[in-house]
């Protein structure tokens, strides 16, 4: 349990941040008192792992590509856990604290934003290209939904799942980490040193709706 907890925390930075934010909102008093700091941190750990159980396979994902996507650590490739027989032990270990956490519908969607595709789960945030004209705490509806997957069926869009919408809230309009663009030509006395920060927007996904009427492929799970 401890090993899987530390593994989950180390592998998914975006999820850990999300965990931290919600914890601070719920327990502001414990944040300030020193002796209970260890309590709050362990509580964070346990609550993080309690959120985790529905997506155990997520920890296995080598998210170098997820880093590229979220690049934001681009995108958050967080698909839900399919019933995979190869990981029964991990599921059992992580599932025991899941009864404490509020049940969340297990589904994911593939949405296209700014020319890039992201795998999206309600409750998590992703970093996208800067959305012009969106202010903080704006509600956003994303219509280009290419695939919706629930626990029992998949809705594959050709190319889009009709009438499906992903609802999200703009959290923050910030900048990516600085990238140093250094151009150099040898023996020609040419060097240019430029820093670049790409604007991005962090949006938190709240819900996926409108996919139920689309012809689905029922999985043999």
């Amino acid at each position: 349990m401890a090993a899987s907890t530390t593994a989950t925390l180390s592998l998914c930075s975006s999820f850990a941040t999300h965990c931290k934010i919600s914890q601070n909102l719920q327990t502001p008093s414990t944040y300030f008192s020193f002796p209970s700091l260890s309590l709050s941190s362990s509580h964070k750990l346990s609550s993080c792992s309690s959120r985790r159980p529905t997506f155990p396979l997520l920890t296995k994902s080598s998210e170098s590509d997820s880093a590229v996507v979220v690049e934001a650590e681009f995108q958050a490739p967080e698909p839900e856990a399919g019933p995979d027989d190869s990981e029964p032990a991990a599921l059992q270990v992580v599932e025991t604290p899941s009864s404490e956490a509020p049940k969340r519908e297990q589904l994911f969607a593939v949405v296209m934003i700014g020319g890039r595709q992201y795998i999206v789960i309600p409750g998590r945030f992703i970093y996208t290209q800067r959305l012009k004209g969106a202010n903080v705490n704006d509600k956003i509806v994303l219509n280009k939904v290419l695939l919706v997957g629930t626990k029992t069926s998949t809705y594959i869009g050709k190319p889009v799942v009709t009438n499906a919408a992903v609802h999200a809230v703009v959290e923050e309009q910030g900048l990516n980490d600085k990238v140093v663009v250094f151009k150099y030509k040898k023996k020609k006395n040419y060097r240019r040193n430029i820093g670049h920060r790409q604007p991005n927007t962090r949006i938190r996904i709240t819900a996926v709706t409108g996919y139920q009427d689309y012809p689905a492929v029922t999985l043999e799970s």
């Binding site: 997520l58 399919g82 595709q117 594959i156 190319p159 250094f182």
Partner: protein, 125 residues
Amino acid sequence: MNKGKIFKLAKGFRGRAKNCIRIARERVEKALQYSYRDRRTKKRDMRSLWIQRINAGTRIHGVNYGNFMHGLMKENIQLNRKVLSELSMHEPHSFKSLVDISRSAFPGNKNVVPAPQKKGLQILV
């Protein structure tokens, strides 16, 4: 403070390249050039990795990458390779349904059966 910045970028370099300014400056310039070049090659490498993963995932079901993508293009499914590789790793059932769609869309692929599994030394036991 140019020297300070150079030494900050030279952390972890080998030998005198992290301590002596003349050598560090050269190595840091080279490192920055490599990072400029590799930001472009990273995109190529990632795409190649995704294709390898998709290939592995589809061959389990008896279809190879080329036919799989051809079938998806025919069906006008516009999932990109990044998402497809993620699905092949973490969503095996959804990926299998995608492979089935592709197989039915691409004529000539209908009766493909996965190659019979080669038996190991266990048959001797």
